[in-house]
């Protein structure tokens, strides 16, 4: 194992652990300002959307025509299933199956 990679992994471990542990052990004993708590309430939605936006609209780092943007196309049935069922596994499997189908269609020269 390379020393520098191990160092990066240890650093990543520390900064991953702290946000998981600090509020649970420390902030829960404090009274947070109302405005801060309202802001915190929107963070999960905002961060998931902020991760998804570029993943779906700029796959492999740049804009692609919609017909060639397989992640964006595969996200449509995944969104539909997620909205209908709110089921984690069903959504993931739908997304993966759609993705595989799109790749297959493209290889056959259809898509």
């Amino acid at each position: 194992m390379r020393a520098q990679v191990l160092l990066v992994i240890l650093g990543m471990a520390v900064v991953t652990y702290l946000p998981r542990a600090l509020p649970m052990t420390v902030l829960s004993r404090m009274k947070l300002p109302e405005a801060f708590r309202r802001w915190l309430g929107f963070v999960p939605v905002a961060v998931l959307a902020a991760l998804l936006g570029p993943a779906l609209l700029l796959p492999s780092g740049g804009w692609q025509p919609v017909r060639e943007n397989l992640p964006l196309l595969a996200s449509l049935p995944a969104f539909w299933v997620a909205g209908k069922t709110r089921d984690l596994l069903g959504t993931v499997l739908t997304g993966l199956a759609t993705m595989a189908l799109l790749v297959a269609l493209r290889r056959l020269g259809v898509g």
Partner: protein, 231 residues
């Protein structure tokens, strides 16, 4: 069977859908990490010590791109800031547990285990055994899947040609939709996605996620709820 053991088993049962999701995403990560130049041991160390899907994907791609260690750690931190809220939201359910136990259990808080735990508990107190069953099962699945993917490496590379790495965005889609409980959430999500896309074009690597999150959540918080205006 003791109550603690029953709680432990119910935690394991709750983890089963997460296990299947982690197997797919973990395999994808293992293959990707291997083809990005990480060794099987490095993949194992990362999955055991870091245990965070999106952080590991981003960290691995930055390592492969030769980014500075400080930049990789800083980006990981930004990506993980969302766990602050999840940790705070779970606090009432673990307030009866000893602080040291809380600090240990917090290590296993992920997007998926958080959603599973809060959906199951609905604010009720959690037993340490229940959380241990849920958390350990999920972590074991993650380590086995990522190390398995890394070990099989090139032999599984064909899977990524079939879009296996789409498992991560697909999981984000499910988690996002589960949280869209009112119209303001939808508006904040659309705003965050658009700001993040703009940021990805105009800001240095990965700061777009933090900037978009801070701004879009602030817009949501500043937008008064209808009931507040009426009262």
């Amino acid at each position: 069977m003791t109550a603690a053991r029953q709680s432990f088993y119910s935690g394991i049962r709750l983890a089963l859908p997460i296990v299947l999701g982690y197997l797919a995403i973990g395999m994808a990560f293992g293959v990707l990490a291997r083809t990005s130049g990480l060794s099987v041991g490095e993949v194992a160390a990362m999955s055991i010590l870091v245990y965070a899907g999106s952080s590991q994907f981003i960290g691995t791609s930055m390592l492969a791109a030769g980014a500075a260690p400080g930049a990789i750690v800083a980006t990981t931190f930004l990506v993980n800031l969302r766990h602050l809220l999840m940790s705070a939201a779970l606090a009432p359910s673990v307030s009866a547990l000893p602080p040291r136990r809380q600090a240990v259990l917090a290590f296993w808080l992920t997007d998926e285990t958080f959603v599973a735990a809060t959906t199951e508990l609905e604010g009720r107190p959690a037993s340490g055994a229940f959380l241990a069953g849920l958390f350990w099962t999920s972590h074991v699945a993650w380590v086995l899947a990522t190390v398995g993917g890394a070990w099989l490496g090139g032999r599984l590379a064909w899977l990524s040609h079939w879009g296996l790495d789409f498992a991560l965005p697909a999981m984000f889609i499910a988690l996002l939709v589960m949280q869209l409980n009112e119209r303001r959430h939808v508006a904040v999500a659309i705003l965050a996605a658009l700001l993040s896309v703009l940021g990805a074009v105009y800001l240095p690597a990965n700061y777009n996620v933090l900037a978009a999150t801070v701004l879009a959540a602030a817009a949501g918080a500043a937008w008064p709820a209808r009931t507040e205006g009426a009262s």
